[in-house]
Amino acid sequence: MCGAVEGGLSLDGVDVAKEAVVQGQVTREGEPVGNAYVRLLDRSGEFTAEVPTSATGHFRFFANDGEWTLRTLAAKADVVDTKVTAARGSVAEVAIAI
């Protein structure tokens, strides 16, 4: 099985049919930002999860159907909020520029 998404993280080993995947990449002036922190906030703004980005700036969440907000924190950068809609059986790709 090869579920790799062009330009994104490999989805090998992930049963996408059962998951509402939210993933993407954090960049600064076009360059990937590793060790940024991306947090997933639910529809009420409550914290649900947080991950540091990989060396290539990538992150991934397994969410649920609905509206979510991604809040990105990085050294020497302002906080960036990005809205995203997730749905089970699909992958929401999000590009975040800080």
């Binding site: 992930v14 049963d15 059962k18 998951e19 060790n35 922190y37 947090r39 997933l40 639910d42 009420s44 409550e46 914290f47 649900t48 999860a49 947080e50 991950v51 540091p52 991934r60 969440f61 397994f62 969410a63 649920n64 809040r71 924190l73 990085a74 050294a75 020497k76 906080v79």
Partner: protein, 282 residues
């Protein structure tokens, strides 16, 4: 305990890197995080190996804890300073562990690895060499640890604090959203448990909120501090964060951490479960 006894700042940690009395330990959910870079002089505990019995589902026993600290060159009189990613979840779990086995001179770096990184402080891949010691632990302190029977008995009688995210509490998710959701156990929460996510206690940079803010959060959520409190989450790390808040920062010594947490409770046959956002009746 008090806030000053429990927390140190990132600046304090940097100032004490070369202090031989201090042992810095990184504990992360992502156990490869240390290998990619850590505070100079820090050693690593791998929670999945060092802090879990490798046969039974349990914490390591007294002899195992003694061996772990001994081989890492930690003495009974060292000041242990813990930090990690995920807003110190796993560092807080290790902190609880040190308290369970009677090592009272233990502290957390407020904000953990995230704050250290956001402040662009130095990380290194150099692994320090430490000389082994002989460490002597006390017997496990069961006043700090709840088991499944304690939780069932607490329904409608004590404070049950579910520190998972609202979607996990309601049964819409089975795990934190950075992990795959497929699980064997049932979703939901025990009747009468209050949902006070651990994250309410933390600022965006991972530091703990002030004691006044923390007291207000739990009181407004209906926690009656005249009663005993049990905190739980999915596998006991996030609830260790809340245990640190209630037991250490706010000084409520009648607080226990249920490390079996939802993975155990949600797998028990015949115990009551409530689905949805309401607490439910006992």
């Amino acid at each position: 305990m008090s806030r000053e006894d429990t927390l140190v700042t990132t600046q304090w940690a940097e100032d004490n890197i070369d202090n031989d009395q201090v042992v810095l330990i990184e504990v992360d959910e992502d156990t490869t995080s240390y290998d990619k870079g850590h505070i100079r002089g820090a050693i690593k505990f791998d929670w999945s190996v060092d802090l879990q019995d490798q046969v039974r589902r349990d914490i390591i026993n007294k002899e195992g804890f003694e061996a772990l600290l001994g081989k890492n060159g930690i003495s009974n009189d060292h000041t242990v300073v813990l930090y990690g990613g995920n807003n110190n979840w796993f560092a807080a779990y290790a902190y609880w562990y040190f308290k369970l086995y009677g090592h009272n001179d233990v502290k957390l770096i407020d904000g953990g690895r995230k704050k250290w990184e956001l402040e662009s402080r130095e990380l290194t891949q150099d692994v320090p060499e430490r000389t082994a010691t002989t460490y002597t632990a006390t017997e496990l302190d069961t006043t700090k640890r709840a088991n499944r029977d304690d939780v069932v008995a607490a329904i409608g009688a004590k404070n049950l604090v579910d520190v998972r995210s609202p979607d996990e509490y309601a049964g819409r998710l089975l795990a934190p959203a950075h992990l795959p959701q497929e699980q064997a156990q049932r979703a939901g929460h025990p009747p009468t448990a209050a949902n006070i996510p651990w994250s309410k206690a933390a600022n965006d940079d991972g530091t703990f909120k002030s004691n006044d803010e923390l007291t207000k959060i739990y009181e407004e959520a209906g926690v009656d501090f005249s009663k005993d409190t049990i905190a739980y989450c999915r596998i006991g790390e996030r609830s260790s964060h809340t245990w640190v808040v209630l037991h250490e920062l706010l000084g409520y010594e009648n607080t226990k951490n249920y490390d079996g947490s939802w993975v155990e409770y949600g797998s028990l046959v015949g115990v009551p479960i409530v689905l949805g956002d309401e607490r439910g009746e006992a």
